[in-house]
């Protein structure tokens, strides 16, 4: 499971050992599927993305450079496919940060923070919601996030990457990753609060 064994597998694959390819894919498919699933919020789409990603991995594994991490490379492929699918099918919710005011410019983190702070004066009923409902609400909230925010959150919290890996995966600078991550967390909280206020997510009294 460790990185060195991945490197060994890649070496074997590049030497023509195709069975190693199956081992490598099998090792990572679960992780890749979950990354895709959290991005597109649909199991069928996630499975398709995972397979497409694995197909691309098969096609380009011979050209993979060992100076990069295979996990980062694989995740990047999944991320690109996921974002491509989201844009193509317009899966993401129309209610995005761009239309929600404080984070309109995407860079005004302070304004976003202020907005959330204002909203936080009114404690929502989320505290009393069951854990399963909270998880479902969390999934919904993630689905409503802007693609960029969703990507950084998925990589950080679902895939548990460090900043450097996220930066490599998303082709960003580390500072940008941190900035975007904080704004993504605020945006997520914002969406959670919105969902708290909708009737369908009201906690039972």
């Amino acid at each position: 499971m460790n990185q060195s064994s991945d490197a060994d597998l890649i070496e074997l694959i590049q030497q023509g050992d195709r069975s190693a390819l199956g081992t490598l894919l099998d090792r990572h498919q679960q992780r890749l599927f979950n990354v895709a699933l959290r991005m597109v919020s649909n199991r069928d789409d996630a499975a398709e993305i995972t397979q497409d990603a694995m197909l691309k991995i098969c096609e380009h594994i011979d050209n993979f450079r060992s100076d990069a991490k295979i996990t980062t490379w694989m995740t990047r492929i999944v991320m690109n496919l996921s974002i491509s699918l989201l844009r193509k099918r317009k899966v993401r919710n129309h209610i995005s940060l761009e239309s929600s005011g404080p984070a309109t410019n995407g860079e005004d983190a302070a304004a976003s923070l202020r907005h959330v702070l204002d909203d936080s004066r009114e404690p929502g009923p989320a505290q009393s919601v069951e854990t399963t409902e909270m998880l479902e609400q969390l999934k919904n909230a993630i689905g409503r996030l802007d693609d960029d925010f969703r990507a950084v959150l998925v990589l950080r919290d679902i895939d548990q990457m460090d900043y450097q890996q996220i930066a490599e995966t998303l082709d960003l600078k580390t500072g940008t990753v941190k900035s975007r991550l904080f704004r993504a967390r605020l945006a997520l909280r914002q969406e959670m609060q919105k969902l708290d206020k909708t009737p369908s997510h009201q906690a039972p009294h």
């Binding site: 099918r89 904080f182 967390r185």
Partner: protein
């Protein structure tokens, strides 16, 4: 207020990256600002929940499927590309979309859309000037509280009406009206809610139709999966009695705005399997004018899910449309149910019989397809083959698809090749239809036999040059090799009664026991398995190209999305194809067809032979 917060510091605090001193500093800061403390607590809670979100299992073994698909592509694509053969059928799980072949469906679709635009232009004029729907269209632009429909300004076209209705959507709170309890299926409003309002006054009809169009937004935002006409304002009792069914998916894949002569309806489906292209093709096929999408966006929108389709349709046609779409949906649901059958279970095909919602005839057809799952014994694909060759092709393709879904790609390959053989025979028959009958005799009698009698149903037209050549070619080669490579040839002949009644007995008795007397296994009898066997021959002999290249006449590409079990076959049970043994002996097909391109033999030559 936020200026005093160091966001990096707060993020590091959340992520636990601060040293104790810095953390104490932040704690002190939070103690002095309850608002910030509350926010940070919520953020930390969100983060923890995200990290504890349980990982979900991938459906099936994706990497295994992928590897199987790649192997299948390696086996199938190379010779097809070389010989210009048919593209692989379907897109099973793990399969990349076919890259070769002509995308006839797309070409036909685009050409048809161009024609549809012309139709739509005329239809819009008719629609606007002569049709009572114009009145409905006027009313569609009315706000909810506008009293009289006739007082509105006329809309220029149905598209305008649609646009107006969308604008109106912002001010009118439509309520969903749903009478379908089957998630993901479409319900014909003509047979349910709408039939009940035909006798009502026009104003009410118009209002209900308008509401039907307006409730789309509510559906997309998490409403029911299917919508039809809703209750009119002022009739809350009716609206209140309508039941909402939970959405299967929040993203509708198809939205149809159907304008009938007296109704405007919005029909949505969140069934991901139902594509917009299907609806458009249906409309083109049935001469239903399409108002939207327009020509310049047709290609893009045909692939997209979100934009609606606006069509002008008669009520009877609407019923037919929804009926067809419903049928497709049910079919796809059945396919999904088959796809999750566990191939590790020895009796998984028997389990299939218990799959709910199978029509009787479908279950019966399924029952005749059995797969020996024991790796130690030769696998048997036993097919119910109808007399009609077209159905036979479909049957084979169905089996191939089913096996693909069951992760038995190698058997699917055999069934698929078998289908190619039959398809080629079918093409040959069509070609032969223009040529005077070449020979008579027994073969001709077999072909003329109205009773399907097993292998005879698959016999190629006597004198058909390519198959004759195939037989002659086999004859010119080592007979011993033929016998070794064609153990299943006899098995394709008339099966024994035991085999008909007990497929597993045939499996246990292996291939030799299923043979019929040698005299009955003439060239044409062997044609059925020639395809698979010739693959083996082509690979095991040095200089011979794959014999299948000889019958690759101009191909009709197989449909890339052939549905499974669309038409259950009805004829008697015939050939057993012992494909596993052949596959075991066969090497992967090499792309050597190019070195010795197949040369069709003229009919006269074949007759002489």
């Amino acid at each position: 207020m936020t200026d005093r917060y160091d966001q990096d510091l707060l993020l590091d605090y959340l992520e636990g990256d601060l040293d104790p001193a810095a953390r104490a500093q932040v704690d002190q800061m939070l103690a002095g600002d309850p608002q910030l403390a509350s926010l940070m607590q919520s953020l930390a809670q969100d983060r923890a929940m995200l990290r504890e979100m349980p990982a979900e299992d991938a459906p099936g073994d994706l990497s295994f499927d992928l590897v199987q698909g790649l192997e299948r592509r390696m086996l199938l694509d190379a010779p097809q590309v070389e010989a210009g053969g048919p593209i692989p059928i379907g897109r099973g799980r793990g399969m990349a979309p076919p890259t070769g072949g002509v995308r006839w469906g797309r070409i036909v679709g685009l050409t048809g859309m161009a024609a549809a635009i012309a139709l739509a232009a005329g239809a819009v004029i008719w629609f606007d000037r002569f049709n009572p729907l114009s009145q409905t269209a006027l009313e569609l632009g009315q706000p909810t509280n506008t009293p009289a429909a006739g007082e509105a300004e006329p809309a220029d076209s149905a598209a305008d009406a649609l646009m107006l209705s969308e604008l109106d959507n912002a001010t009118a709170g439509g309520s969903g009206a749903f009478d379908d309890t089957t998630p993901g299926s479409l319900t014909s409003p003509g047979t349910s809610a709408l039939h009940g309002v035909h006798d009502e006054n026009p104003a009410s009809l118009a209002e209900r139709a308008r509401r039907a169009m307006l409730d789309g937004a509510a559906n997309r935002a998490g409403g029911p999966s299917v919508s039809s006409a809703a209750g009119a304002p002022g009739r809350p009792d009716e609206a209140d009695t309508l039941e909402l069914s939970p959405p299967e998916s929040p993203i509708p894949s198809v939205t149809i705005t159907a304008f009938t002569p007296d109704q405007a309806l919005r029909i949505e489906s969140d069934n991901q399997e139902t594509s917009k292209a299907e609806v458009l093709e249906w409309c083109l096929r049935n001469g239903v004018p399409i108002v939207e999408p327009q020509l310049d966006r047709a290609a893009e929108q045909a692939q997209a899910d979100a934009p609606p389709i606006a069509i002008l349709i008669e009520p009877t046609q609407l019923d037919a449309l929804l009926s067809d779409l419903n049928r497709e949906t049910i079919q796809q649901q059945q396919n999904r149910q088959r796809a999750i059958i566990d191939p590790a279970d020895e009796s998984y095909y028997q389990q299939a019989e218990a799959v709910p919602h199978l029509a009787d005839e479908d279950a019966e057809a399924f029952d005749t397809t059995r797969l020996g799952n024991d790796d130690a014994s030769p696998a048997i694909v036993e097919l119910r083959v109808p007399a009609d060759l077209g159905d036979a092709v479909q049957t084979r393709l169905n089996v191939a698809n089913t096996l693909l879904y069951s992760n038995r790609a190698e058997l699917a390959l055999a069934a698929q090749r078998d289908a190619e053989v039959i398809r080629n025979q079918q093409i040959a028959d069509e070609t032969q239809a223009d040529v005077p009958p070449a020979v008579g005799g027994d073969d001709a009698n077999d072909l003329a036999d109205p009773e399907p009698d097993g292998a005879g149903d698959f016999r190629v037209t006597p004198g058909y040059p390519l198959n004759r050549h195939s037989g002659a070619q086999r004859g010119s080669e080592s007979p011993g090799q033929d016998e070794a490579a064609l153990p299943a040839a006899d098995d394709t002949a008339t099966p024994t009664p035991e085999a008909m009644e007990e497929p597993h007995a045939a499996q246990a008795s292996d291939t030799d026991d299923q043979a019929v007397p040698d005299g009955q296994a003439d060239d044409d009898d062997a044609t059925q398995v020639d395809a698979v066997a010739a693959e083996s021959e082509g690979d095991t002999t040095d200089a011979q190209p794959p014999a299948r290249g000889n019958w690759l006449l101009p191909q009709v590409p197989l449909a890339p999305s052939t549905p499974i079990w669309t038409d259950p076959p009805t004829a008697q049970l015939v050939p057993l194809v012992f494909v596993q043994r052949l596959l075991d002996e066969a090497e992967p097909i090499q792309a050597d067809a190019e070195a010795t391109p197949a040369q069709p033999i003229e009919p006269d030559e074949a007759i002489e032979e």
